[in-house]
Amino acid sequence: MSRARGVVADLWRDKFAFLAVLFLLVLVLAALFAPLVAPHDPAAQSLAGRLLPPGWSKGGDWSHPLGTDNLGRDVLSRVIHGSRVSLTVGLAVVLFSGLLGVGLGLLAGYRGGRLDAVVMRAVDTQTAFPGLLLALTILAALGPSVTTVIVVLGLNGWMVYARVARATVLSIKEMPYVEAAEVVGCRPRRVVLRHIFPNLVSPVMTLAILELARIVLTEATLSFLGVGIQPPDTSWGLDVAIGKDYVYSAWWLVTFPGLAIALTVLSVNLSASWLRVYTDPEERDKQFAALAIAAEGRSR
């Protein structure tokens, strides 16, 4: 319990990171409990209540705090439900490409030789392809849906995990404790699972968090272009697409989903940045010492 308190205290020191993590927590809760939290059904149309401005504007109605879109659907509810899609797609893709990439990178790094060469050439080759274009082409050909989006983005993003995993494995492999495990008589499988894999977690985790931000943005882009999430599902990108025709007349249609995307990506990046410092004991100590000395100076 005191450990958790320590983390929170550390987080509080970096106000931006604190707000970022708070935002993400709210987002996750909103996504989990969307049907309970959202004031309206995001698909409920109302011809009478079309293009209502946000609650605080003239002509606005507080039952629709962020206004309604061209079909009378509640913007706030759509934004809340949209978080579901963004987070689901984001997490699913990260999981998929992460497992694939780490698995391949681990094998390549540990076995070396031919396998390593083949995997790395595959990484290089696929990295050379323009990812987004590839995604667009496949989605256009297969017909878009949540599942296809996840698969396509997943297959597109494994390379960076493979590279990071392989590099980490190569450096861990040289550690005496890995040699010790082999000398003690561990079979390769045990060496990999028990000794190498746990030490991969940290660098891969940082990467995964940053990738999450990128995927959220990519999904929004794909949906905006019409090859991602399809109606009647809700997606922030989709809403921005719908709203782009009304930028001047109904600015709230584009702004709130757009803001949601931007804040999510920003929060993820700030959290990852804080996490990087938090998990590096040297950096933490320096920061701690600097703050302590500054505090001392102030109290004199």
Partner: protein, 337 residues
């Protein structure tokens, strides 16, 4: 000040230095009131094991203590002028460092920049501190490499550090350290990372250079064998404090502090074969939680009542001999048990 005329000033003086490290798990007292001096032409050994604070002391002397560490109190004076306190201290330290006081560190591989030639790195020191022209500095660099016994110095000066072997790199570092003809050379474990036969070469070199250039040397090490062969006198550190000061002969012959005696006894000697090595039980204390009494007390075989309550002061009991021990200070000069 009459003090100046009565006694020639020390070259380097460390006065009641306190250095601490602020960490999340508490403040570590790395150096707790160390006072020592080095005079012209002498070689002083600063001996201690890991955690003794000897390296932090040398860092502080050079004015290179960085966060999370800092100098809490005390002074470091070079030729009478402070390099820690008062206006202009930092500037003075920067001017002195590399020029009048120079350093040789333990690991020659990480002390040399792999991107530049060895000659260029030595020349850089000359141009920065002495304002030499590029050509003069280059030539002088070659002379220096020759001085430290590197064959084919002109060709070697154009090579990069990775083309040098470990022993040669250390020689190159010594050449760099001597470039501006310093008065004091601080050598922090200069031979620990080297093979024994190379170590012998480097120590031989240091002895020759010292004789030829009248250099003062502060040798920081944990190796008592190296101290025995090179140093005039020794300062022994334990847990951030000085526990004994003596001439080399006196320290090895009649060590007063139980730690010094223990250290000597547990050092295996090539010319002796004992049935069992004499070890000092226990481990050094946690610098974050210094005990109120003597830091060595938990491991000491002669500790008495006062030892747990008060930290002993360093007391001079004979010319050039001091010890920080309640039990020994009383009967100073006693023979080794």
């Amino acid at each position: 000040m009459t003090a100046r005329t009565e006694r020639p000033g020390h070259l380097l003086e460390v006065d009641d230095l306190h250095v601490e490290f602020i960490t999340r798990r508490g403040v570590a007292q790395a150096v707790r009131g160390v006072s020592l001096h080095v005079d012209a032409g002498e070689t002083v050994g600063l001996v201690g094991e890991s955690g003794s604070g000897k390296s932090v002391t040398s860092t502080a002397i050079l004015g290179m203590v960085e966060l999370p560490g800092r100098i809490v109190s005390g002074d470091v004076r070079w030729r009478g002028e402070s390099m820690v306190n008062g206006p202009g201290a930092a500037r003075r330290a920067a001017a002195v460092r590399g020029k009048e006081i120079s350093v040789v560190f333990q690991d020659p591989m990480t002390s040399l920049n792999p991107l530049f030639t060895v000659g260029a790195q030595i020349a850089e020191v000359l141009r920065f501190h002495l304002g030499m022209s590029r050509r003069d500095a280059s030539n002088r660099a070659v002379e220096l490499l020759d001085l430290v016994g590197i064959p084919n110095p002109r060709a070697r000066a154009r090579q990069h550090p990775h083309e040098f072997s470990g022993g040669m790199r250390q020689r190159a570092l010594i050449a760099m350290a001597l470039a501006c003809e310093p008065k004091l050379l601080i050598a922090d474990e200069p031979t620990t990372a080297l093979d024994v036969t190379i170590q012998a070469q480097i120590l031989e070199l240091l002895t020759e250079l010292q004789a030829a250039l009248g250099l003062a040397v502060l040798l920081i090490t944990h190796d008592l064998g190296v101290v025995a062969g090179l140093c005039h006198r020794v300062e022994v550190m334990y847990a951030g404090r000085l526990v004994e000061r003596a001439s080399t002969r006196d320290l090895f012959g009649t060590p007063q502090h139980p730690y010094s005696a223990g250290l000597l006894a547990s050092t295996p000697r090539l010319d002796e074969r004992l049935a069992r090595l004499v070890a000092i039980d226990g481990v050094p204390p946690d610098p974050r939680a210094p005990a109120p009494g003597c830091a060595f007390e938990p491991r000491c075989s002669i500790s008495g009542h006062r030892c747990t309550e008060e930290d002993p002061e360093l007391v001079t009991f004979a010319a050039g001999r001091a010890v920080a021990c309640w039990e020994r200070a009383a009967g100073g000069g006693a023979d080794r048990d």
